[in-house]
């Protein structure tokens, strides 16, 4: 699947009718810019209404399919490698469009985030609102630090999510699960 990813669209994070969202931050913090999602999770801590769950997801693609099932609104944050400038934020509406796999099969047993989202869509288990924020990475080497451009982008994305979510979700608390903060 070849297409140009969306670039930092200005649409609101969650439409007014959406329920309390879950922010799922993906990636391996020990592999350079693959830790971008985890950094966003840390930066969002204590900056959002308690009704917003922030989870760090380190499971398999099938575990992600299971996690999406039953949720009303999910915002996924991950790293990407598409050839764009490091730090570029790609935004996808997972409900409306396919997510281009960076390299087919380039995940454990050929199942990655793009395949997980596609599978959930086919099975009819995607959340009503499901958006992917993918930060273009520069290096994914084991043990590498986040590159400066990605760190800046993660900080910008966290600020944007915090700003928008504060105004679009109710402040009331909900229960926190084992993976939430």
């Amino acid at each position: 699947m070849k297409r140009t990813p969306g670039r930092d669209k200005a649409a609101p994070v969650v439409a007014g009718r959406a329920g309390c969202p879950v922010i799922l931050c993906l990636g391996n913090p020990h592999c350079g810019d693959d830790g971008a999602g985890r950094l966003v999770a840390r930066l969002l801590r204590d900056r959002l209404p308690s009704s917003v769950r922030i989870e760090q997801h380190a499971g398999t693609a099938l575990a992600l399919v299971e996690r999406l099932h039953g949720a009303d609104a999910v915002l996924l944050v991950d790293a990407a490698l598409t050839g764009a400038a490091p730090g570029t934020i790609h935004v996808f509406d997972c409900v409306a469009e396919d997510i281009p796999a960076a390299r087919p099969g380039a995940s454990s047993h050929g199942l990655g985030v793009a395949e997980a989202i596609a599978l959930a869509r086919v099975l009819g288990t995607l959340p009503r609102v499901c958006r992917l924020y993918a930060i273009e990475g520069e290096t994914f080497a084991p043990g590498a630090a986040l590159s400066p451009a990605v760190r800046t982008a993660a900080e910008g994305l966290a600020a944007r999510l915090a700003r928008e979510l504060v105004h679009t979700v109710p402040p009331s608390a909900t229960s926190y699960g084992p993976h939430g903060f």
Partner: protein
């Protein structure tokens, strides 16, 4: 002379980074090589100097699909080195943990990786468009396995609750019984899985393998038993190194293995079933017979049926263990440190996994040896291709490539536990 080269850049639905090269000259298959260029990971080297108590948690990180196998082989090897015996209750809980992993791993392979081959799809997503219920059933089955790992292992992937001598924490009877309903549903669904996969069309191809697996006189093998073969081998794991040899071939960064004096051999579902089918539970054995399996199976394309039968067994065995469970007085047996050598072979979902460690007097690791199932199976996978591909040479390139990929997937190879792919290269001259 016409010469065609086929490059399939991505062979999906296998784990690891490698390539397959077929050389066809004048309509004859000249060579078939499985090339593994994934960089070495040096686990055996960096285990040196670590405490034996750390090893089960480190080796669990070798694989995200079968971490329990790496924990089980290492923890049993450490207990062998330290000369301690675990209690029957702990032994039963370890079998239960292995049941969870077999369910997770086999279901992933059957439903997401292998079934698309038989139903004619490029992958699980495409298959789900026409067969959503099949994929939903697979996800539900896998979830039941996840729940066992969550409870006993502390989490679904890379469990953290196994320690030398037992577990850090053992579940209460009430906690285990909480799994029961999901496992009962899973067992029923697993019988439907056997019916589903038994109905697939299988190439009529067999090979005269030397099968090697763990075998135990009283049970279908998980954690304990002799290493046996259908050619008369019957040894304790402590004698493994006297009978098997690892060797390096230029085309692979994973060591190959051979049975000394015999050559290539096969581990995994075909071997396990063919050497131990009489020890399946009555329900699993009945499912096998209904699916048309005999006491042994030499057709690797039918490995998916054996995996389905083994999933029935795993559910059945899990329920048996839960119903009989009595919590041990202590979650683990104390393990005083001493110098020694310990070995263990256990049955990972995709085949036998051998570990050997030499410990110093303080329990630190002086030497480690880990022989994964895919490493052992590499020569047999190549032999499969050499035996089967000549029958397919008249097929169009895409069909030939697909069948070769399927022949590799028969063995559920786990070339690495990282994010990698396999490239298929067919050269016709």
């Amino acid at each position: 002379m016409a010469r065609r080269t086929i490059n399939v850049d991505v062979l999906a639905r296998v784990e690891g980074e490698g390539a397959l090269r077929l050389v066809i000259q004048d309509g004859t298959l000249r060579n078939a090589e499985l090339r593994i260029f994934e960089p070495p990971r040096f686990f055996e080297a960096f285990l040196r100097g670590r405490s034996c108590m750390e090893v089960p948690d480190i080796t669990a990180r070798i694989c995200g699909i079968c971490p329990v196998a790496y924990q089980m082989s290492s923890v049993h090897a450490m207990e062998d080195a330290l000369g301690i015996a675990i209690t029957p209750e702990i032994r039963a809980l370890r079998r239960l943990l292995y049941c969870g992993e077999w369910i997770e791993s086999h279901v992933l392979h059957m439903y997401m990786l292998h079934a698309p081959d038989f139903l004619g799809y490029d992958g699980a997503v495409e298959m789900a468009k026409d067969h959503p219920d099949v994929v939903r059933d697979g996800l539900a089955l896998k979830k039941a396995g996840n729940e066992i790992l969550n409870l006993l292992g502390g989490r679904e992937i890379h469990p953290i609750n196994v320690r030398v001598g037992g577990f850090y924490r053992v579940p209460t009877r009430h906690e285990l019984r909480g799994l029961r309903e999901a496992l009962l549903r899973g067992r029923d669904a697993s019988l439907d899985t056997v019916k589903l996969v038994a109905g697939f069309a299988f190439p009529d191809m067999e090979r005269d393998y030397e099968f090697v697996s763990v075998s135990h006189p009283g049970e279908y093998p998980f954690n304990e038993g002799h290493v046996v073969s259908n050619r008369g081998l019957d040894i304790p794991p402590q004698q493994y190194d006297a009978h098997f040899e690892e060797f390096h071939v230029k085309r692979s960064n994973a060591l190959h293995s051979r049975h000394l004096g015999h050559g290539a051999y096969l581990t995994g579902p075909l071997a396990r079933y063919s050497l131990n089918s009489a020890r399946l539970s009555p329900l699993a054995l009945e499912a096998a017979r209904t699916a048309g399996l005999g006491a042994t199976c030499n057709n690797p394309f039918r490995s998916i049926v054996i995996r389905a039968v083994e999933v029935v067994y795993a559910f059945d065995e899990a329920l048996r263990i839960i119903d009989a469970y009595q919590p041990p007085e202590r979650p683990f047996v104390e393990a005083p440190m001493r110098a020694g050598v310990g070995c263990a072979a256990t049955e990972a979902p995709r085949g036998m996994l051998y570990h050997r460690y030499r410990l110093d007097a303080d329990g630190s690791v002086l030497e480690a040896k880990i022989v994964p199932p895919t490493s052992q199976n590499q020569p047999s996978i190549e032999d499969d291709l050499r035996a089967f591909a000549p029958h397919w040479l008249d097929l169009p390139d895409d069909r030939l490539s697909h069948l070769c990929e399927q022949a590799i997937r028969n063995h559920d190879p786990c070339i690495s536990c990282a994010t990698h792919f396999l490239k298929l290269d067919v050269v016709r001259g």
